[in-house]
Symmetry: C2
Subunit: 257 residues, 2 copies
DNA sequence: ACAATATAACGTACGTCGTACAGAGTTTCA
DNA sequence: TGAAACTCTGTACGACGTACGTTATATTGT
Protein backbone atom coordinates (compact mmCIF):
# COMPACT_ATOMS: atom_id res chain seq x y z
CA UNK A 1 0.00 0.00 0.00
CA UNK A 2 0.42 3.62 -0.32
CA UNK A 3 2.12 5.26 -3.14
CA UNK A 4 -0.32 7.21 -5.19
CA UNK A 5 0.28 8.47 -8.67
CA UNK A 6 -0.61 11.92 -9.90
CA UNK A 7 -1.75 13.06 -13.29
CA UNK A 8 -3.95 10.10 -14.10
CA UNK A 9 -7.34 11.32 -15.16
CA UNK A 10 -8.89 13.42 -17.87
CA UNK A 11 -6.77 16.59 -18.13
CA UNK A 12 -9.70 18.96 -18.66
CA UNK A 13 -11.70 17.70 -15.70
CA UNK A 14 -8.61 17.67 -13.48
CA UNK A 15 -7.72 21.24 -14.36
CA UNK A 16 -11.23 22.46 -13.62
CA UNK A 17 -10.98 20.86 -10.24
CA UNK A 18 -7.54 22.30 -9.58
CA UNK A 19 -8.54 25.80 -10.55
CA UNK A 20 -11.93 25.63 -8.87
CA UNK A 21 -13.99 26.73 -11.83
CA UNK A 22 -17.13 24.80 -10.96
CA UNK A 23 -20.12 26.33 -12.72
CA UNK A 24 -22.83 26.21 -10.09
CA UNK A 25 -25.51 23.81 -11.36
CA UNK A 26 -28.97 25.33 -11.75
CA UNK A 27 -31.24 22.40 -11.06
CA UNK A 28 -31.34 19.47 -8.73
CA UNK A 29 -30.97 19.19 -4.97
CA UNK A 30 -28.66 21.55 -3.14
CA UNK A 31 -25.20 20.06 -2.96
CA UNK A 32 -24.40 19.11 0.61
CA UNK A 33 -20.67 19.51 0.09
CA UNK A 34 -18.08 21.22 -2.05
CA UNK A 35 -14.98 19.78 -3.64
CA UNK A 36 -12.88 22.02 -1.42
CA UNK A 37 -14.47 20.62 1.75
CA UNK A 38 -13.64 17.15 0.58
CA UNK A 39 -10.06 18.14 -0.11
CA UNK A 40 -9.75 19.70 3.33
CA UNK A 41 -11.14 16.62 5.03
CA UNK A 42 -8.82 14.40 3.01
CA UNK A 43 -5.76 16.46 3.91
CA UNK A 44 -6.71 16.44 7.58
CA UNK A 45 -7.12 12.69 7.49
CA UNK A 46 -3.85 12.10 5.66
CA UNK A 47 -2.02 14.43 8.04
CA UNK A 48 -3.39 12.62 11.07
CA UNK A 49 -3.26 9.01 9.97
CA UNK A 50 -1.13 8.82 6.86
CA UNK A 51 -1.89 8.21 3.22
CA UNK A 52 -2.60 4.53 3.84
CA UNK A 53 -5.59 5.53 5.97
CA UNK A 54 -6.97 7.75 3.24
CA UNK A 55 -9.83 5.85 1.65
CA UNK A 56 -12.91 7.17 -0.04
CA UNK A 57 -14.97 5.42 2.61
CA UNK A 58 -13.09 7.10 5.47
CA UNK A 59 -13.42 10.54 3.88
CA UNK A 60 -17.15 9.96 3.43
CA UNK A 61 -17.45 8.85 7.06
CA UNK A 62 -15.66 11.98 8.18
CA UNK A 63 -18.08 14.14 6.21
CA UNK A 64 -21.18 12.20 7.19
CA UNK A 65 -22.15 11.08 3.70
CA UNK A 66 -22.13 7.78 1.89
CA UNK A 67 -18.97 6.72 0.09
CA UNK A 68 -20.32 7.14 -3.40
CA UNK A 69 -21.41 10.73 -2.81
CA UNK A 70 -17.79 11.79 -2.99
CA UNK A 71 -17.80 10.91 -6.66
CA UNK A 72 -20.31 13.67 -7.30
CA UNK A 73 -17.60 16.22 -6.59
CA UNK A 74 -14.42 14.45 -7.59
CA UNK A 75 -13.83 12.08 -10.51
CA UNK A 76 -11.77 9.65 -8.48
CA UNK A 77 -9.14 9.21 -5.84
CA UNK A 78 -6.23 10.06 -8.14
CA UNK A 79 -7.69 13.44 -9.05
CA UNK A 80 -8.51 14.13 -5.41
CA UNK A 81 -4.89 13.56 -4.46
CA UNK A 82 -3.77 15.88 -7.24
CA UNK A 83 -5.78 18.66 -5.65
CA UNK A 84 -4.52 17.79 -2.18
CA UNK A 85 -0.96 18.18 -3.43
CA UNK A 86 -1.62 21.52 -5.06
CA UNK A 87 -3.38 22.84 -1.97
CA UNK A 88 -0.50 21.74 0.24
CA UNK A 89 1.96 23.55 -2.04
CA UNK A 90 -0.13 26.64 -1.36
CA UNK A 91 1.37 26.80 2.12
CA UNK A 92 4.82 27.56 0.75
CA UNK A 93 6.01 31.13 1.27
CA UNK A 94 7.84 33.64 -0.89
CA UNK A 95 11.60 33.17 -1.08
CA UNK A 96 12.77 36.58 0.08
CA UNK A 97 16.35 37.39 1.00
CA UNK A 98 19.23 39.62 -0.05
CA UNK A 99 21.34 36.93 -1.69
CA UNK A 100 20.59 33.99 -3.92
CA UNK A 101 22.01 31.82 -1.18
CA UNK A 102 19.59 33.11 1.44
CA UNK A 103 16.73 32.69 -0.99
CA UNK A 104 17.64 29.13 -1.95
CA UNK A 105 18.05 28.33 1.72
CA UNK A 106 14.54 29.57 2.27
CA UNK A 107 13.25 27.36 -0.52
CA UNK A 108 14.91 24.33 1.04
CA UNK A 109 13.73 25.04 4.59
CA UNK A 110 10.24 25.82 3.44
CA UNK A 111 10.05 22.49 1.64
CA UNK A 112 11.53 20.64 4.60
CA UNK A 113 8.87 22.15 6.87
CA UNK A 114 6.07 21.39 4.43
CA UNK A 115 7.00 17.73 4.14
CA UNK A 116 7.00 17.47 7.91
CA UNK A 117 3.56 19.03 8.14
CA UNK A 118 2.23 16.80 5.35
CA UNK A 119 4.30 13.60 5.28
CA UNK A 120 1.88 12.01 2.83
CA UNK A 121 3.27 14.34 0.14
CA UNK A 122 6.33 12.10 0.06
CA UNK A 123 4.17 9.14 -0.95
CA UNK A 124 2.77 10.81 -4.03
CA UNK A 125 4.72 10.36 -7.24
CA UNK A 126 4.77 13.67 -9.05
CA UNK A 127 6.20 12.74 -12.43
CA UNK A 128 3.28 14.57 -14.03
CA UNK A 129 2.68 17.33 -11.52
CA UNK A 130 -0.86 18.60 -10.94
CA UNK A 131 -0.88 21.87 -12.83
CA UNK A 132 -2.77 23.85 -10.23
CA UNK A 133 -2.29 27.47 -9.23
CA UNK A 134 -0.05 26.73 -6.28
CA UNK A 135 2.18 24.30 -8.11
CA UNK A 136 2.81 26.85 -10.82
CA UNK A 137 3.42 29.61 -8.27
CA UNK A 138 5.86 27.33 -6.50
CA UNK A 139 7.98 26.92 -9.62
CA UNK A 140 8.00 30.65 -10.28
CA UNK A 141 8.96 31.37 -6.69
CA UNK A 142 11.83 28.91 -6.75
CA UNK A 143 13.18 30.29 -9.99
CA UNK A 144 12.99 33.83 -8.68
CA UNK A 145 15.57 32.83 -6.08
CA UNK A 146 18.21 32.39 -8.75
CA UNK A 147 17.05 34.88 -11.38
CA UNK A 148 19.76 37.24 -12.54
CA UNK A 149 22.73 35.59 -10.91
CA UNK A 150 24.40 34.65 -14.17
CA UNK A 151 23.00 31.19 -14.81
CA UNK A 152 21.47 30.01 -18.07
CA UNK A 153 17.80 29.15 -18.07
CA UNK A 154 18.63 25.48 -18.10
CA UNK A 155 21.02 25.88 -15.19
CA UNK A 156 18.39 27.76 -13.23
CA UNK A 157 16.01 24.87 -13.67
CA UNK A 158 18.69 22.36 -12.70
CA UNK A 159 19.73 24.30 -9.60
CA UNK A 160 16.16 24.58 -8.40
CA UNK A 161 15.60 20.88 -9.02
CA UNK A 162 18.74 20.06 -7.07
CA UNK A 163 17.77 22.13 -4.04
CA UNK A 164 14.14 20.99 -3.90
CA UNK A 165 15.23 17.44 -4.54
CA UNK A 166 17.65 17.64 -1.66
CA UNK A 167 15.02 19.05 0.70
CA UNK A 168 12.68 16.24 -0.29
CA UNK A 169 15.35 13.63 0.17
CA UNK A 170 16.37 14.89 3.60
CA UNK A 171 12.73 15.19 4.68
CA UNK A 172 12.10 11.66 3.47
CA UNK A 173 14.76 10.34 5.80
CA UNK A 174 13.51 12.40 8.71
CA UNK A 175 9.84 11.65 8.20
CA UNK A 176 10.60 8.01 7.52
CA UNK A 177 12.31 7.65 10.87
CA UNK A 178 9.47 9.37 12.72
CA UNK A 179 6.85 7.25 10.96
CA UNK A 180 8.70 4.01 11.60
CA UNK A 181 8.62 4.91 15.26
CA UNK A 182 4.95 5.76 15.21
CA UNK A 183 3.91 2.71 13.21
CA UNK A 184 5.88 0.21 15.20
CA UNK A 185 5.56 1.82 18.61
CA UNK A 186 9.28 1.23 19.12
CA UNK A 187 11.93 3.94 19.14
CA UNK A 188 15.06 3.64 17.02
CA UNK A 189 17.05 2.91 20.16
CA UNK A 190 14.68 0.14 21.24
CA UNK A 191 14.68 -1.28 17.75
CA UNK A 192 18.44 -1.41 17.69
CA UNK A 193 18.47 -3.07 21.10
CA UNK A 194 16.29 -5.81 19.65
CA UNK A 195 18.13 -6.19 16.34
CA UNK A 196 21.71 -5.58 17.48
CA UNK A 197 22.30 -8.69 19.60
CA UNK A 198 20.57 -10.97 17.10
CA UNK A 199 22.60 -9.40 14.32
CA UNK A 200 25.83 -9.96 16.25
CA UNK A 201 25.36 -13.71 15.87
CA UNK A 202 25.60 -13.36 12.10
CA UNK A 203 28.11 -10.56 11.66
CA UNK A 204 31.76 -10.36 12.56
CA UNK A 205 32.46 -6.71 13.29
CA UNK A 206 36.04 -7.06 12.07
CA UNK A 207 34.76 -7.67 8.56
CA UNK A 208 33.24 -4.20 8.57
CA UNK A 209 35.73 -2.06 10.50
CA UNK A 210 34.72 1.34 9.17
CA UNK A 211 31.01 0.69 9.33
CA UNK A 212 31.29 -0.53 12.90
CA UNK A 213 33.26 2.52 13.98
CA UNK A 214 31.25 5.11 12.08
CA UNK A 215 27.98 3.36 12.73
CA UNK A 216 28.58 3.52 16.44
CA UNK A 217 29.42 7.21 16.29
CA UNK A 218 26.48 7.96 14.04
CA UNK A 219 24.17 5.76 16.06
CA UNK A 220 24.95 7.61 19.25
CA UNK A 221 24.33 10.87 17.50
CA UNK A 222 21.17 9.70 15.83
CA UNK A 223 19.47 8.72 19.01
CA UNK A 224 19.14 12.42 19.62
CA UNK A 225 15.80 13.59 18.28
CA UNK A 226 17.47 16.51 16.49
CA UNK A 227 19.63 14.25 14.34
CA UNK A 228 17.66 14.34 11.08
CA UNK A 229 17.54 18.12 11.10
CA UNK A 230 21.30 18.21 11.59
CA UNK A 231 21.72 15.95 8.57
CA UNK A 232 19.57 18.43 6.66
CA UNK A 233 21.71 21.36 7.75
CA UNK A 234 24.91 19.55 6.81
CA UNK A 235 23.67 18.56 3.37
CA UNK A 236 22.18 21.95 2.65
CA UNK A 237 25.49 23.68 3.38
CA UNK A 238 27.31 21.32 1.01
CA UNK A 239 24.75 21.70 -1.77
CA UNK A 240 24.78 25.47 -1.56
CA UNK A 241 28.59 25.48 -1.49
CA UNK A 242 28.54 23.46 -4.67
CA UNK A 243 26.18 25.90 -6.32
CA UNK A 244 28.35 28.74 -5.12
CA UNK A 245 31.32 27.20 -6.92
CA UNK A 246 29.29 27.31 -10.14
CA UNK A 247 27.94 30.81 -9.75
CA UNK A 248 31.29 32.18 -8.55
CA UNK A 249 32.96 30.92 -11.70
CA UNK A 250 30.70 33.06 -13.89
CA UNK A 251 31.50 36.55 -15.25
CA UNK A 252 28.88 38.36 -13.19
CA UNK A 253 29.59 36.01 -10.32
CA UNK A 254 27.79 37.01 -7.14
CA UNK A 255 25.04 38.60 -9.17
CA UNK A 256 22.47 41.19 -8.05
CA UNK A 257 20.42 41.06 -4.89
CA UNK B 1 -1.25 1.71 -3.83
CA UNK B 2 2.30 0.73 -3.60
CA UNK B 3 4.61 1.91 -0.97
CA UNK B 4 5.79 -0.94 1.16
CA UNK B 5 7.40 -0.61 4.52
CA UNK B 6 10.47 -2.47 5.68
CA UNK B 7 11.42 -3.72 9.10
CA UNK B 8 7.98 -4.84 10.17
CA UNK B 9 8.12 -8.34 11.53
CA UNK B 10 9.86 -10.32 14.23
CA UNK B 11 13.55 -9.31 14.12
CA UNK B 12 14.91 -12.78 14.75
CA UNK B 13 12.87 -14.43 12.02
CA UNK B 14 13.65 -11.62 9.59
CA UNK B 15 17.37 -11.86 10.23
CA UNK B 16 17.37 -15.63 9.70
CA UNK B 17 15.70 -15.03 6.37
CA UNK B 18 18.11 -12.28 5.39
CA UNK B 19 21.18 -14.31 6.29
CA UNK B 20 19.82 -17.54 4.87
CA UNK B 21 20.41 -19.67 7.96
CA UNK B 22 17.54 -22.04 7.43
CA UNK B 23 18.11 -25.22 9.45
CA UNK B 24 17.01 -27.95 7.08
CA UNK B 25 13.93 -29.56 8.62
CA UNK B 26 14.23 -33.29 9.38
CA UNK B 27 10.68 -34.50 8.88
CA UNK B 28 7.85 -33.81 6.56
CA UNK B 29 7.62 -33.71 2.78
CA UNK B 30 10.52 -32.39 0.72
CA UNK B 31 10.08 -28.64 0.29
CA UNK B 32 9.24 -27.84 -3.30
CA UNK B 33 10.79 -24.38 -3.10
CA UNK B 34 13.35 -22.33 -1.25
CA UNK B 35 13.04 -18.83 0.14
CA UNK B 36 15.68 -17.69 -2.30
CA UNK B 37 13.66 -18.95 -5.29
CA UNK B 38 10.70 -16.98 -4.06
CA UNK B 39 12.81 -13.86 -3.68
CA UNK B 40 14.16 -14.27 -7.20
CA UNK B 41 10.71 -14.70 -8.66
CA UNK B 42 9.45 -11.69 -6.73
CA UNK B 43 12.31 -9.49 -7.93
CA UNK B 44 11.77 -10.59 -11.52
CA UNK B 45 8.09 -9.79 -11.25
CA UNK B 46 8.67 -6.39 -9.64
CA UNK B 47 11.31 -5.54 -12.25
CA UNK B 48 8.98 -6.44 -15.08
CA UNK B 49 5.66 -5.10 -13.87
CA UNK B 50 6.33 -2.85 -10.91
CA UNK B 51 5.74 -3.16 -7.21
CA UNK B 52 2.00 -2.71 -7.63
CA UNK B 53 1.86 -5.97 -9.57
CA UNK B 54 3.73 -7.83 -6.84
CA UNK B 55 1.12 -9.84 -5.00
CA UNK B 56 1.51 -13.09 -3.14
CA UNK B 57 -0.93 -14.66 -5.58
CA UNK B 58 1.09 -13.56 -8.61
CA UNK B 59 4.32 -14.87 -7.12
CA UNK B 60 2.64 -18.19 -6.38
CA UNK B 61 1.27 -18.34 -9.93
CA UNK B 62 4.74 -17.71 -11.30
CA UNK B 63 6.14 -20.56 -9.23
CA UNK B 64 3.28 -22.95 -9.91
CA UNK B 65 2.12 -23.33 -6.32
CA UNK B 66 -0.89 -22.18 -4.38
CA UNK B 67 -0.78 -18.72 -2.84
CA UNK B 68 -0.59 -19.86 0.75
CA UNK B 69 2.43 -22.08 0.13
CA UNK B 70 4.56 -18.99 0.01
CA UNK B 71 3.93 -18.49 3.71
CA UNK B 72 5.77 -21.71 4.43
CA UNK B 73 9.01 -20.02 3.44
CA UNK B 74 8.40 -16.37 4.25
CA UNK B 75 6.49 -14.90 7.20
CA UNK B 76 4.72 -12.31 5.13
CA UNK B 77 4.98 -9.83 2.31
CA UNK B 78 6.84 -7.22 4.35
CA UNK B 79 9.64 -9.62 5.24
CA UNK B 80 9.83 -10.82 1.65
CA UNK B 81 10.36 -7.27 0.46
CA UNK B 82 13.09 -6.80 3.06
CA UNK B 83 14.99 -9.67 1.51
CA UNK B 84 14.34 -8.40 -2.01
CA UNK B 85 15.91 -5.09 -1.04
CA UNK B 86 18.96 -6.70 0.48
CA UNK B 87 19.47 -8.95 -2.51
CA UNK B 88 19.19 -5.98 -4.87
CA UNK B 89 21.82 -4.12 -2.87
CA UNK B 90 24.03 -7.12 -3.52
CA UNK B 91 24.43 -5.95 -7.11
CA UNK B 92 26.34 -2.85 -6.04
CA UNK B 93 30.05 -2.90 -6.82
CA UNK B 94 33.16 -1.85 -4.90
CA UNK B 95 33.92 1.86 -4.96
CA UNK B 96 37.42 1.82 -6.39
CA UNK B 97 39.27 4.89 -7.60
CA UNK B 98 42.33 6.95 -6.87
CA UNK B 99 40.59 9.90 -5.26
CA UNK B 100 37.72 10.25 -2.83
CA UNK B 101 35.94 12.15 -5.56
CA UNK B 102 36.20 9.31 -8.06
CA UNK B 103 35.06 6.86 -5.41
CA UNK B 104 32.04 8.92 -4.36
CA UNK B 105 31.18 9.38 -7.99
CA UNK B 106 31.20 5.62 -8.37
CA UNK B 107 28.88 5.26 -5.38
CA UNK B 108 26.45 7.72 -6.91
CA UNK B 109 26.51 6.19 -10.40
CA UNK B 110 26.22 2.69 -9.05
CA UNK B 111 23.13 3.68 -7.08
CA UNK B 112 21.65 5.51 -10.05
CA UNK B 113 22.09 2.41 -12.19
CA UNK B 114 20.67 0.12 -9.53
CA UNK B 115 17.50 2.17 -9.15
CA UNK B 116 16.99 2.08 -12.89
CA UNK B 117 17.39 -1.69 -12.94
CA UNK B 118 15.03 -2.09 -9.97
CA UNK B 119 12.66 0.87 -9.90
CA UNK B 120 10.55 -0.77 -7.21
CA UNK B 121 13.37 -0.05 -4.73
CA UNK B 122 12.23 3.55 -4.78
CA UNK B 123 8.81 2.50 -3.47
CA UNK B 124 10.15 0.81 -0.39
CA UNK B 125 10.56 2.96 2.70
CA UNK B 126 13.85 2.08 4.32
CA UNK B 127 13.65 3.89 7.67
CA UNK B 128 14.58 0.64 9.40
CA UNK B 129 16.84 -0.95 6.82
CA UNK B 130 16.82 -4.72 6.44
CA UNK B 131 20.04 -5.70 8.18
CA UNK B 132 21.14 -8.24 5.63
CA UNK B 133 24.65 -9.01 4.41
CA UNK B 134 24.47 -6.81 1.34
CA UNK B 135 23.00 -3.82 3.12
CA UNK B 136 25.81 -3.91 5.65
CA UNK B 137 28.43 -4.36 2.95
CA UNK B 138 26.91 -1.41 1.10
CA UNK B 139 27.41 0.88 4.07
CA UNK B 140 30.98 -0.27 4.55
CA UNK B 141 31.73 0.22 0.88
CA UNK B 142 30.32 3.74 0.85
CA UNK B 143 32.28 4.75 3.92
CA UNK B 144 35.48 3.35 2.46
CA UNK B 145 35.17 5.98 -0.28
CA UNK B 146 35.79 8.77 2.23
CA UNK B 147 37.93 6.99 4.80
CA UNK B 148 41.13 8.86 5.66
CA UNK B 149 40.38 12.12 3.90
CA UNK B 150 40.24 14.17 7.09
CA UNK B 151 36.57 13.97 7.98
CA UNK B 152 35.19 13.07 11.38
CA UNK B 153 33.22 9.86 11.70
CA UNK B 154 30.01 11.82 11.83
CA UNK B 155 30.92 13.81 8.75
CA UNK B 156 31.75 10.62 6.90
CA UNK B 157 28.28 9.31 7.63
CA UNK B 158 26.71 12.61 6.59
CA UNK B 159 28.66 12.82 3.34
CA UNK B 160 27.71 9.29 2.39
CA UNK B 161 24.07 9.97 3.23
CA UNK B 162 24.15 13.11 1.10
CA UNK B 163 25.60 11.37 -1.95
CA UNK B 164 23.38 8.29 -1.77
CA UNK B 165 20.38 10.49 -1.05
CA UNK B 166 21.16 12.57 -4.10
CA UNK B 167 21.50 9.51 -6.32
CA UNK B 168 18.18 8.24 -5.05
CA UNK B 169 16.49 11.58 -5.56
CA UNK B 170 17.79 11.97 -9.12
CA UNK B 171 16.85 8.39 -9.96
CA UNK B 172 13.39 8.98 -8.53
CA UNK B 173 12.84 11.81 -10.98
CA UNK B 174 14.20 9.81 -13.89
CA UNK B 175 12.36 6.60 -13.12
CA UNK B 176 9.19 8.51 -12.30
CA UNK B 177 9.17 10.10 -15.73
CA UNK B 178 9.76 6.79 -17.46
CA UNK B 179 7.06 5.05 -15.44
CA UNK B 180 4.53 7.81 -16.04
CA UNK B 181 5.11 7.28 -19.72
CA UNK B 182 4.73 3.54 -19.48
CA UNK B 183 1.67 3.63 -17.25
CA UNK B 184 -0.23 6.22 -19.21
CA UNK B 185 0.94 5.24 -22.67
CA UNK B 186 1.57 8.93 -23.44
CA UNK B 187 4.95 10.58 -23.75
CA UNK B 188 5.79 13.72 -21.82
CA UNK B 189 5.51 15.71 -25.01
CA UNK B 190 2.07 14.30 -25.82
CA UNK B 191 0.96 14.93 -22.25
CA UNK B 192 2.02 18.52 -22.41
CA UNK B 193 0.22 18.90 -25.73
CA UNK B 194 -2.95 17.78 -24.00
CA UNK B 195 -2.51 19.81 -20.81
CA UNK B 196 -0.88 22.94 -22.20
CA UNK B 197 -3.79 24.39 -24.20
CA UNK B 198 -6.32 23.61 -21.48
CA UNK B 199 -4.00 25.17 -18.93
CA UNK B 200 -3.64 28.31 -21.03
CA UNK B 201 -7.32 29.09 -20.44
CA UNK B 202 -6.65 29.40 -16.72
CA UNK B 203 -3.16 30.90 -16.60
CA UNK B 204 -1.87 34.21 -17.79
CA UNK B 205 1.76 33.68 -18.75
CA UNK B 206 2.64 37.24 -17.78
CA UNK B 207 1.90 36.40 -14.16
CA UNK B 208 4.71 33.84 -14.22
CA UNK B 209 7.37 35.39 -16.44
CA UNK B 210 10.37 33.43 -15.20
CA UNK B 211 8.57 30.12 -15.07
CA UNK B 212 7.26 30.59 -18.59
CA UNK B 213 10.69 31.45 -19.96
CA UNK B 214 12.63 28.79 -18.07
CA UNK B 215 9.90 26.21 -18.39
CA UNK B 216 9.99 26.56 -22.14
CA UNK B 217 13.76 26.17 -22.23
CA UNK B 218 13.70 23.25 -19.82
CA UNK B 219 10.74 21.67 -21.57
CA UNK B 220 12.51 21.66 -24.91
CA UNK B 221 15.56 20.13 -23.30
CA UNK B 222 13.57 17.58 -21.35
CA UNK B 223 11.88 16.13 -24.35
CA UNK B 224 15.24 14.62 -25.12
CA UNK B 225 15.40 11.13 -23.65
CA UNK B 226 18.82 11.87 -22.11
CA UNK B 227 17.49 14.74 -20.02
CA UNK B 228 17.18 13.00 -16.64
CA UNK B 229 20.71 11.69 -16.83
CA UNK B 230 21.95 15.19 -17.57
CA UNK B 231 20.15 16.47 -14.48
CA UNK B 232 21.94 13.73 -12.58
CA UNK B 233 25.33 14.77 -13.93
CA UNK B 234 24.69 18.41 -13.12
CA UNK B 235 23.60 17.73 -9.56
CA UNK B 236 26.38 15.26 -8.90
CA UNK B 237 29.01 17.81 -9.95
CA UNK B 238 27.52 20.40 -7.58
CA UNK B 239 27.25 18.00 -4.67
CA UNK B 240 30.83 16.81 -5.07
CA UNK B 241 32.03 20.41 -5.40
CA UNK B 242 30.31 21.16 -2.12
CA UNK B 243 31.99 18.22 -0.43
CA UNK B 244 35.30 19.32 -1.92
CA UNK B 245 34.89 22.70 -0.26
CA UNK B 246 34.57 20.91 3.07
CA UNK B 247 37.44 18.49 2.59
CA UNK B 248 39.69 21.14 1.11
CA UNK B 249 39.26 23.31 4.20
CA UNK B 250 40.70 20.59 6.42
CA UNK B 251 44.35 20.30 7.56
CA UNK B 252 45.05 17.13 5.60
CA UNK B 253 42.90 18.39 2.79
CA UNK B 254 43.00 16.21 -0.28
CA UNK B 255 43.85 13.21 1.85
CA UNK B 256 45.41 9.90 0.79
CA UNK B 257 44.41 7.88 -2.22
C1' DA C 1 -50.21 24.15 -10.81
C1' DC C 2 -47.77 20.63 -13.12
C1' DA C 3 -44.69 17.94 -16.05
C1' DA C 4 -40.00 17.66 -17.78
C1' DT C 5 -35.35 17.64 -16.64
C1' DA C 6 -31.01 17.98 -14.32
C1' DT C 7 -28.57 16.94 -10.32
C1' DA C 8 -27.41 14.70 -5.71
C1' DA C 9 -27.16 10.85 -2.91
C1' DC C 10 -27.31 6.11 -2.03
C1' DG C 11 -27.21 0.70 -2.05
C1' DT C 12 -25.43 -3.09 -4.14
C1' DA C 13 -21.94 -5.62 -6.32
C1' DC C 14 -17.39 -7.01 -8.51
C1' DG C 15 -12.75 -8.12 -8.49
C1' DT C 16 -8.60 -7.15 -6.02
C1' DC C 17 -5.55 -7.59 -1.88
C1' DG C 18 -2.92 -9.92 2.55
C1' DT C 19 -3.38 -13.61 5.35
C1' DA C 20 -5.84 -16.46 9.44
C1' DC C 21 -7.28 -20.96 9.95
C1' DA C 22 -8.28 -25.78 9.47
C1' DG C 23 -7.44 -29.84 7.24
C1' DA C 24 -5.12 -33.26 4.15
C1' DG C 25 -1.06 -35.43 2.49
C1' DT C 26 3.99 -36.77 3.20
C1' DT C 27 8.20 -37.99 5.44
C1' DT C 28 11.05 -39.33 9.46
C1' DC C 29 11.86 -40.93 14.17
C1' DA C 30 10.80 -43.72 18.39
C1' DT D 1 3.35 -48.98 13.64
C1' DG D 2 2.10 -44.97 15.53
C1' DA D 3 3.23 -40.26 16.57
C1' DA D 4 5.30 -36.14 15.43
C1' DA D 5 6.89 -32.66 12.24
C1' DC D 6 6.42 -30.62 8.18
C1' DT D 7 4.41 -29.05 3.38
C1' DC D 8 0.70 -27.70 0.85
C1' DT D 9 -4.04 -26.26 -0.17
C1' DG D 10 -9.01 -24.39 -0.04
C1' DT D 11 -11.96 -21.42 2.08
C1' DA D 12 -13.08 -17.22 4.17
C1' DC D 13 -12.84 -12.35 6.08
C1' DG D 14 -12.63 -7.61 5.86
C1' DA D 15 -10.51 -4.01 3.45
C1' DC D 16 -10.08 -1.33 -1.07
C1' DG D 17 -11.72 1.72 -5.60
C1' DT D 18 -15.54 2.38 -8.19
C1' DA D 19 -19.29 0.87 -12.07
C1' DC D 20 -24.04 0.84 -12.25
C1' DG D 21 -28.83 1.60 -11.45
C1' DT D 22 -32.28 3.79 -8.56
C1' DT D 23 -34.51 7.18 -5.81
C1' DA D 24 -35.07 11.84 -3.95
C1' DT D 25 -34.91 16.80 -4.73
C1' DA D 26 -34.69 21.19 -6.87
C1' DT D 27 -35.39 24.24 -10.92
C1' DT D 28 -37.39 25.32 -15.44
C1' DG D 29 -40.85 25.73 -19.08
C1' DT D 30 -45.66 25.36 -19.90
Amino acid sequence: MTTEYSGGGDPKRSLELLWGVRDRPKRGPKPRLTAEEIVRAAIALADAEGLEALSMRRIADELGVSPMSIYTYVPGKAELIDVMVDRAFGELTAASGDTWRARLEHVARDGWDLYHRHPWLLRVTLARPPMGPNTIAKYENELRAVEGVGLTDLEMDSVVALVTGFAESAARASVGAAEAERRSGISDAQWWEAVGPALATFVNEDDYPIGSRVGTAAGMEYNAPAAPSRAFEFGLARVLDGIEALIGSRPDGAGPS
